[in-house]
């Protein structure tokens, strides 16, 4: 029987590997929107990894960090897509 920590740690490593895979899209693009999708994925994956690390290292504040990332998950997309008011 494997213990809990090893299991969670393996999950964290595998999760990181999938995030690295997803980040290839940020590298190859081609469009800015494609790259931004990759950031979006890293945001969600980062939330997941923070939760796992919080359980593993027994630091509850990492859930607060995940909360902060979750609250700000759409800021980058909004900052990319907003248009400025026209000159008068």
């Amino acid at each position: 029987m494997i213990d809990m920590d090893t299991l969670l740690l393996t999950a964290a490593v595998l999760l990181l590997v999938t995030l690295i895979t997803g980040l290839v899209r940020a590298l190859i693009g081609p469009s800015l929107q494609d790259r931004m999708l990759s950031i979006q994925l890293l945001g969600t994956g980062g939330v997941a990894l923070l939760i796992l690390l919080g359980l593993l290292l027994k630091i509850e504040a990492l859930v607060d960090t995940a909360l902060v990332l979750a609250l700000l998950a759409a800021v980058a997309a909004a900052a990319l897509t907003r248009r400025e008011t026209p000159h008068d």
């Binding site: 809990m4 299991l7 969670l8 999950a11 595998l14 999760l15 999938t18 995030l19 895979t21 997803g22 290839v24 899209r25 469009s31 929107q33 494609d34 931004m36 999708l37 990759s38 979006q40 994925l41 945001g43 969600t44 994956g45 939330v47 997941a48 939760i51 796992l52 359980l55 509850e60 859930v63 607060d64 995940a66 909360l67 979750a70 609250l71 700000l72 998950a73 759409a74 980058a76 997309a77 909004a78 990319l80 897509t81």
Partner: protein, 94 residues
């Protein structure tokens, strides 16, 4: 027992994260990639949060985790929409 169930949830969530990443990499254009990303990602995080709630044990933590999940779903749905529209406008202009 709850811990075992929790770890099963977490392992299952990995499959969805992997699907999201691979979809992001393999699908042909922005809109298709968007689809893979949002669907798989939210389900993945949902399962992971469920697992963490079972393992973590106490109520306050579970509530916080639930809030995190809801916020990510809310934000990423809107972000996906913004990116999709932006990509469409770019397509028209070029």
């Amino acid at each position: 027992m709850t811990e075992l169930l929790g770890s099963l949830f977490i392992l299952a969530s990995l499959a969805f994260f992997a699907a999201g990443s691979i979809g992001l990499l393999r699908l042909p254009d922005v809109h298709a990639r968007l689809h893979a990303l949002t669907k798989a990602d939210n389900l993945g995080l949902g399962l992971l949060v469920a697992g963490a709630c079972l393992i973590g044990g106490h109520l306050l933590l579970a509530l916080k985790l639930l809030l995190v999940w809801l916020l990510v779903m809310f934000a990423s749905a809107i972000a996906a929409n913004l990116i999709a529209r932006h990509a469409m406008k770019d397509g028209e202009e070029s």
